[in-house]
């Protein structure tokens, strides 16, 4: 069996490995968006932030030779994008959804424009941690080469889940998100909280972009994201604004996305377009199964413009 096929075991292995490899951008974007939406604002522009982050990280890594600096630079640009969004949205009668779409197009356009000269060069990649040393199977070893950002994402999900409930900052965020008036009555400045929440959200989304360009698939080109930032925003609603839910939903999406190629590789080759639709079919099924005609979305922040 050595270094040849592993047969049908390839499918569960690919789903497992895919869940880890593909999910990281979803984790970071959806966690960032959870913070933003918990403060009562929607930032639909994270696709633009993600792609701009991917470009920045790649460009900085090429120029400095350090992928870590690339990630930090991406975080900084993400925070700037988030701040712009938050600043515009604080003005009365500004629609955050419309601004989000505008910011998405702006981010994409700017990233394509500035990123032109970085398509060709090869950037150093982010390191991964080989956890598969115990296994003699090369496939398992490859699947367990896990990037450090995945663990950071997992830890962040747990931390946010705890922090939303148990810290002063978490409480402030939730108050602002549930009722602007109550927050004002408590002496909190809702605009400032939302500005910061959007900036942090943008910064996290940009880390997702850095993972795409610096680790997996590990290359910068204009089609690098193909809509993952938008999917991640939808994941937040799917996960009911719960950080741990976001993490699990991202894993589910990553795993389901790996299903199509894995099935073809073991010889299930008919109808691969159908398997490629698996993540979306799964989402529909879960949303229908968990929906209720009698209550509104559980966990939705009250001041979110979606729920108005």
């Amino acid at each position: 069996m050595e270094d040849t096929g592993i047969g049908l075991w390839g499918v569960p292995l690919a789903i497992f490995a895919g869940a880890i490899r593909v999910s990281t951008p979803f984790i970071f974007v959806s966690l960032g968006e959870t913070i933003t939406e918990r403060s009562g604002r929607i930032n639909l522009g994270l696709e633009g932030t993600l792609v701009f982050g991917a470009m920045t990280a790649y460009a900085v890594a090429v120029m400095t030779g350090s992928p870590t600096l690339g990630v930090l630079a991406a975080m900084a640009t993400g925070a700037i994008f988030g701040t712009i969004h938050g600043w515009i949205c604080k003005w009365p009668k500004v629609n955050d959804i419309a601004i989000g779409i505008a910011m998405m197009q702006f981010g994409l356009g700017l990233a394509f424009f500035l990123g032109k000269s970085f398509i060709q060069p090869v950037a150093p990649k982010l390191p991964s941690i080989p956890l598969g040393g115990w296994s003699a199977t090369l496939q398992v070893q490859a699947a367990l080469n896990i990037n450090v950002l995945f663990f950071i994402g997992a830890a962040l999900a747990l931390f946010l889940w705890w922090a939303f409930r148990n810290t002063r900052i978490g409480l402030t965020l939730r108050v602002v998100g549930d009722s602007t008036d109550a927050a004002r009555a408590m002496g909190i400045n809702p605009d400032r909280v939302r500005l910061l929440a959007t900036a942090v959200g943008g910064s996290l989304a940009a880390i997702g972009g850095a993972y795409l360009s610096l680790y997996y698939p590990g290359s910068w080109n204009e089609g690098i994201s193909s809509g993952q930032g938008l999917m991640a925003v939808a994941l937040v609603i799917f996960a009911r604004w719960n950080p741990i839910g976001c993490f699990l939903a991202a894993l589910l999406f990553g795993g389901a996305g790996a299903l199509g190629p894995a099935l073809q590789s073991v010889g299930v080759t008919q109808g691969y377009y159908l398997f490629y639709a698996a993540p979306y079919v799964l989402t529909l099924i879960i949303l229908i199964a968990t929906s209720s005609p009698t209550r509104s979305l559980a966990g939705a922040p009250g001041a979110l413009s979606l729920t108005k």
């Binding site: 690919a14 398509i119 590990g218 080109n221 590789s265």
Partner: protein, 375 residues
């Protein structure tokens, strides 16, 4: 064609630009103007023109003719295969005065280029990859393509010698005839070395989907494939992922040896510069542009990357011998008997197709030994 409508913006631009263009470009076809006639040429790409792949190969070709005297080049990249490409063509014709257009992506042909060709009968359109048919398609259109399948056959030979697991892998975009022919050629090349080799194919469904291509490459290697090639627009992700997992790589579209280092065996590359130069020379001298232009390795349409260090001496010998046979024009990749992977005979014994056989351009079957399905 002329509608009795109030003049709108587009009609106005069209009318005024047509006047300008007529002044600037003294007739492309049949005009006995001296060589080096001023010409404006439009190139349209479906992706970025530095993608280490399909679009880069065309853009490198365009860069060759840009240096020719009297040539003005207008280029637009990232143009989707939708009505958008019609708008791009109209603006190149009306605003830039282009009289020869090269829409380089497969999906531009029908209906987009054909619609524009009917609307602008004086403009010449040459499409890469389309199957132009006399009588069916307008005379001011045409298609050109290279027989890169032979290049994939040579890739297959290199792969056949390099593979230890006797399983090779192919990451493919869409099951169109050119892709299918490349898959088949790759396997047939490998089987000319060892008839027990199989080739696993994974279709991603799109020309450029970075994450899915990386997943497909990983899935192939998980199943034991140890030489990978591909037919997607930008092979960069596949090449880097495969080399990173320790598999050998055969390149496609352009030379990717810089990305895979010593894991790079060889690659089938386009040499569009020659093709475009011929078109421009014909246009400038007032000659007729071919409507159906095809060529392979021996015509300089296609070239092979230099062999990498991992190719054995034996492999090198067979590779070079086959290449020489191809250059002499006597070689045929599809020689009967060939069965498809469902067991039907698709090429009967004794029959063989030359590289320019029209039957090969509508290939819809995967040959025996390819594990995969086109639907």
């Amino acid at each position: 064609m002329t509608k009795l409508l109030p003049m709108n913006r587009r009609n106005f631009l069209q009318a005024s630009a047509a006047g300008l263009a007529a002044g600037a470009v003294p007739g492309l076809i049949g005009s006995p103007a001296a060589a080096q006639t001023a010409l404006t040429i439009g190139f349209i790409y479906v992706g970025p023109k530095d993608d280490y792949g399909y679009n880069q190969a065309h853009a490198e070709g365009a860069a060759v003719i840009k240096k020719m005297p009297g040539i003005t080049l207008v280029e637009e990249e990232n143009v989707p295969e939708t009505v958008d490409v019609q708008k791009t063509m109209e603006s190149m014709i009306n605003l830039d005065g282009a009289t020869l257009l090269f829409p380089t992506s497969f999906g531009y042909f029908d209906p987009h280029m054909l619609a524009m060709a009917a609307k602008y009968p004086k403009v010449q359109f040459r499409h890469c990859g389309g199957l132009w048919t006399e009588g069916k398609h307008p005379a001011n259109t045409g298609s050109y393509f290279g027989y890169i399948g032979q290049g994939q056959y040579l890739n297959g030979i290199a792969a056949g010698y390099a593979s230890k697991s006797k399983k090779i892998g192919f990451v493919a975009a869409k099951p169109i005839p050119q892709v299918v022919q490349n898959i088949n050629s790759f396997l047939l090349g490998a089987r000319s070395v060892d008839p027990t080799i199989t080739c696993q194919v994974i279709f991603t469904g799109e020309w450029s989907l970075a994450v899915k291509e990386a997943e497909a490459t990983n899935a192939l290697i998980d199943q034991g494939a140890d030489v990978i090639t591909c037919h997607v627009d930008s092979p960069k992700v596949v090449v880097e992922t495969a080399a990173g997992r320790g598999a050998f790589v055969c390149g496609y579209h352009a030379n990717q040896s810089a990305l895979a280092k010593d894991k790079y065996l060889t690659g089938a590359e386009w040499a569009w510069g020659n093709v475009y130069t011929n078109f421009i020379k014909a246009a400038q001298s007032g000659g007729k542009l071919g409507n159906f232009v095809r060529g392979g390795l021996k015509d300089g349409f296609v070239k092979m990357s230099p062999l990498g260090p991992a190719v054995s001496a034996e492999g090198r010998k067979k590779f070079e011998a086959t290449l020489a046979e191809i250059m002499s024009g006597k070689f045929s990749v599809f020689k009967g008997p060939i069965k498809d992977n469902k067991g039907n005979v698709v090429v009967t014994a004794g029959k063989s197709f030359a590289e320019d056989a029209i039957e090969l351009e509508s290939m819809g079957y995967l040959v025996e030994g390819v594990v995969g399905s086109t639907s």
